[in-house]
Symmetry: C2
Subunit: 238 residues, 2 copies
């Protein structure tokens, strides 16, 4: 069902879409800085160096901008996580890893918009609030379903699927507040790292390795695992 | 160093403290509902059914209330996590479990105050902001230190301590936004559940080792072993 973007030179529609996105980004930035109530359309037009009528053409009012931000963040998250949730051919661990990394990446790619929507939640006009709440709930359900399925087949520990979903979504959401593009880790590294923590937080564990800082023990573990690799390769070539 | 509360009938000081706390809670609730800027001292006095002079006696201005909320939430978190971090007699897994459960519980016990402080971060007067930032940074350092220590002695996987600390703090912080006292899980169950996810997210696993026959997995395990050996040797030579 996904529409594919045509790989051609920017059409009139493409240019319009680009302008619309630029306006949306500028508005999100101002909302983040001054709050939704503290920003008016004139401020946004000023920040863009454009005329108010041109802005009106795309966004007749501030609520329209907020609705677009909800689409860009919450509704996109809903569609993305639903697409991943229904691909039941992979094991729950890989599904959860992909779902978490994709969710974190989407939030980080739209960090300003996400922060604005998150902060404005209580002030969203009823119709937009409904869309936002429904989408947010669907994302939550997608996460808790894959966790419940993993726990059911013994791939995950017998964790509480709802609590775990809240925990993992919390890790993802928080990234939009602390991540700095100029920092030590790239956006992709953060998304993958969070997904790695998420999977391990619920995955079933067997006996622990020796809790030791002795080099001899670390070498022993290494030896065991080389033995294991040898076994694996032997069984392939044999 | 902790002062013990005297188990006696409420003294004059005890009554004062109780009244002060009641005022603080009422103010936090109004700030959460109407925003800091949208609330004045008269609103708080009205909500309490008290006179403005009495409120003034405890809180000469709104900033004073905000400073008290920062003390109650961020500075308390700092002291608590520092106390736990220095108790190096327990293993890193147990330290991280206790630190996370205690942090989540503190945030949930002061959920409204935490939400107000979190939302008002950008608007905090400079002096209060400095206290808040320092305490928040100390909490982060306490979490990343215990994770780094756990990774160094091979108790934890070779995770990124900073990224993991952000992830775990994100799980804790998020609880203050979704937890409902009337819900299926008690406050203590949520705090313990989040701590359980946190510990498992970083703890070393053995489970995958014997289970897999993929060469790529065996190589991945070897890589983790080498990372661990590197950490161990580094800590020796450092």
């Amino acid at each position: 069902m996904a529409r594919k973007a045509k790989a051609s030179k920017p059409s009139a529609n493409g240019k319009k879409e680009l302008l619309r996105q630029t306006m949306l980004d500028a508005a999100a930035k101002l909302f983040a800085e001054r709050g939704f109530a503290g920003t008016n359309l004139q401020d946004i037009a000023d920040a863009l160096g454009t005329s108010r009528p041109l802005l009106y053409y795309y966004f007749p009012n501030k609520e329209e901008i907020l609705a677009s931000l909800v689409e860009e963040v919450t509704v996109s998250s809903q569609h993305q996580s639903t697409r991943i949730a229904v691909s039941t051919d992979t094991n729950p661990g890989e599904t959860l890893r992909f779902m978490t990394a994709s969710h974190a990446k989407l939030l980080l790619d739209h960090a300003v918009a996400f922060r604005v929507v998150d902060r404005s939640e209580a002030d969203l006009p009823a119709a937009i609030r409904k869309v936002h709440d429904t989408a947010k709930r669907a994302v939550f359900d997608n996460f808790s379903s894959v966790i419940a399925r993993g726990a059911q087949i013994g791939h995950f520990r017998p964790v509480d699927p709802q609590l775990s979903a809240f925990g993992i979504l919390g890790m993802c959401s928080w990234t939009a507040w602390w991540f700095k593009p100029s920092g030590r880790l790239s956006l992709q590294q953060v998304a993958d790292g969070i997904a790695d923590l998420a999977v391990h937080s619920v995955q079933r564990q067997e006996a622990r390795r020796p809790k030791t800082s002795a080099i001899s023990d670390a070498l022993q573990i290494l030896r065991e695992d080389i033995d294991h690799l040898e076994l694996v390769t032997k069984s392939r070539s044999g």
